[in-house]
Amino acid sequence: MKRFMLSALGAATAVAVTASAAVAASSTMETVKKRGQLICGVNTGLAGFSAPDDKGVWKGFDVDYCRAMSAAVLGNPDKVTYKPLTGKTRFPALQSGEIDILSRNTTWTFKRDVNLGFEFVGVTYYDGQGFIARKDLGVKSAKELNNASVCIQTGTTTELNLADFFRTNKMKFKSVVVEDATEARQAYAANRCDVYTTDRSGLAAQRSVLKDPDAHVILPEIVSKEPLGPVVRHGDNVWGDIARWVRNALVVAEELGVTQANVDQMKSTENPEIKRLLGTEGDFGSMLGLSKDWAYNVIKSVGNYGEIYERHIGPKTAIGLDRGVNNLWTNGGIIYAAPFR
């Protein structure tokens, strides 16, 4: 019996040791390189941002950032393991080192940046909370929503913004609280609630997959600031730098007109910043601990910021989000990146 128990225990420990990830004290980049896979936390399902298709392949705006990271670090955009996370599980997953990076429309806030031990590496999408309502209700403004019932997803900043908005406008509401975005859409579509509130990008994504998108209207009020972006753990600055400069490379590439299609010709261009970006002059890659052509790999595999935007959430897609503030600073938006110098 004893021997039997001991061997069982031994087996259990063996399973525990082999299945557990390596000690997080070593740097994230080494872990990723050793593993040969990037583990990227994404939304469990938000059309345009991250959702699995029938074959189980993840696609979307946030997913492409994971692919860009994978291309930069591992030279191949497909070496990503996606970890679908809810609003609730995303932070513990990042804190415990289960994922290497969180790319899940997460709002940059003071408390998250300072108190939860995270580092926000930049903004990939400037957003704000809004409302969607059925057109036949005849609602023109969120200020008319007194006594409405509101569908809301738990575990987010929206919960508190919502209560604040109604309080400041001296209105009442009834909340219908659900666990994730898809459930919220389901409840809204079935008329369980009158309006649904979340970030406006999310609203557009959700509207696109409603049965009759044109029967719904996104109200003009924006009740909060929601700068969304990728998040890494605090303290691993090398990894944070990589994440930040992958984001910057995507934006700079758009500024300089480097696209997925022309990146090969651009390699022979004379523009010094493009040369530095693509690694044909200087070796910015080795400063990050990456290969010389890391940014070339990124752009070759996912395109520049604008291309990712247009591909997944732009006006030509079902989501149909205008660039708006998310246009380059040169085009009237506020998307801006530090220079490669």
Binding site: G117, V176, A190, N191
Partner: protein, 402 residues
């Protein structure tokens, strides 16, 4: 590993070594066990403290008095309002109340349905037995989380009419896919006396039952306790109410621009959770009831009939009391299961303890350890109460056993 080793063929006699003495061994083993346990706990506590410090999380229950800042769908009788800065402590109370509410309703409904099904399962009607049997097997073998989600998203929300076009009963009660809306009773001056009358009636009934039993023991005469009690319980409050001119008015619900306002409502999430819990638990209760009735030997019925007792009283005085002795212990543990299962309300957004406190509060404050500890304690207290009751009940049965 140190489990009750008493002795291992100790060579007896004065020369036995001290470590062969079972008493010494018992002490050594247990001390070793306690030391290992304490070391393990110290290890965990130390790790937790270090981790909390590193992540800058402030431990403690201070968050309970911080304002919560979010709305809750079902607040019930707890005074909760974001405007007045209601706290996470109030959220805890709401969760407690809602868990209690759905458990109590589920227990009553599941018991009724379970008893009916259990009796039907034993009927000599082939098709009824078959139907009830399939119901029980189907319901028991499908995961409860799936049943929660199914009732909410695939049945009620889809099949019930929209709120603009509800099923209306006498234009006072409305059923729609957001739930049930009805009039709300508003108490006026004097309503207190009606409640006093109810309490008084309960007191009188309790005394009456004792008195009637004593009289029967002494004189053999029976007293129609049931009907008198019913009369008292209904009649006395009604009498008081009519003297005071029915101090109660109704606030009717009205369909506003968006939803029904005023009145009282039961949200659809409560319906779905209740349906799932009732149906699931009733299948288990039906099997318990069936086993209980089968456990009473047929001789009991025959002996009772031989004594000239008719069918009804036989069932009431002979069969059911004996069957209950077998039924009640597992029945109580089903009640406990139902209460624990009500925590699945989180899957469909019913505001039970684990949803509003263990979910939303946890998210907003990040005090995972405290909140999960508190939620677990609530369920633990409940099961402790149940097991105390069970022990008491078993002792009582044992006493009357002949």
């Amino acid at each position: 590993m140190a489990v009750g080793v008493k002795d291992e063929g100790t060579p007896s006699g004065g020369g036995a070594r001290w470590w062969y003495d079972p008493k010494v061994r018992a002490i050594i083993f247990q001390v070793a066990f306690v030391v290992a346990l304490v070391a393990f706990i110290a290890f965990i506590v130390n790790n937790t403290v270090v981790n909390l410090e590193k992540r800058d999380i402030r431990a403690g229950f201070g968050f309970l008095s911080e304002p919560a800042g979010f709305e809750i769908p079902i607040t019930g009788v707890v005074d909760y309002s974001v405007d007045k800065g209601s706290t996470h402590g109030a959220v805890f109370l709401i969760g407690l109340q809602n868990t209690f509410l759905i458990s109590a309703m589920g227990i009553v409904l599941a018991t009724i349905l379970g008893f009916v099904l259990g009796v039907l399962r034993l009927s000599n009607n082939w098709i009824v037995t078959l139907l009830v049997g399939s119901y029980i097997e189907i319901v028991r073998n499908i995961p409860l989380p799936l049943q929660f989600i199914f009732w909410q998203t695939a049945v009620f929300i889809i099949f019930l009419p929209k709120v603009r076009d509800p099923i209306s009963i006498f234009d006072t009660i409305y059923i729609h896919n957001r739930g049930l809306t009805g009039p709300k009773p508003i108490g006026e001056a004097g309503l207190d006396f009606v409640f006093y009358a109810i309490f008084a009636a309960i007191g009188v009934v309790m005394w009456l039952r004792k008195w009637a039993r004593r009289r029967q023991d002494e004189t053999g005469k029976q007293f129609p306790v049931f009907w008198t009690s019913l009369g008292l319980l209904v009649g006395l409050p009604l009498l008081v109410a009519s003297i005071l001119g029915f101090p109660l008015s109704w606030e009717y619900a009205e369909l506003g621009r968006f939803r029904f306002t005023g009145g009282m409502g039961i949200p659809i999430e409560l319906f779905s959770a209740l349906t799932a819990l009732t149906i699931y638990t009733s299948a288990f209760i039906a099997e318990i009831v069936r086993a209980g009735i089968l456990s009473v030997s047929r001789g009991q019925t025959e002996a009772s009939h031989a004594l000239g007792i008719r069918h009804g009283p036989t069932l009431r005085l002979v069969i059911i009391p004996q069957a209950l002795r077998v039924i009640i212990p597992p029945l109580i543990s089903q009640y406990l299961n139902l209460t624990k299962n009500s925590s699945l309300g989180i899957l469909i957004g019913y505001s039970d303890l684990f949803n509003v406190f263990g979910g939303i509060s946890l998210n907003q404050t990040g005090q995972a350890i405290e909140i999960i500890f508190m939620s677990m304690s609530v369920y633990l207290c409940f099961s402790l109460l149940i097991s105390l009751y069970m022990n008491w009940y078993n002792r009582r049965i044992a006493l009357t056993d002949r």
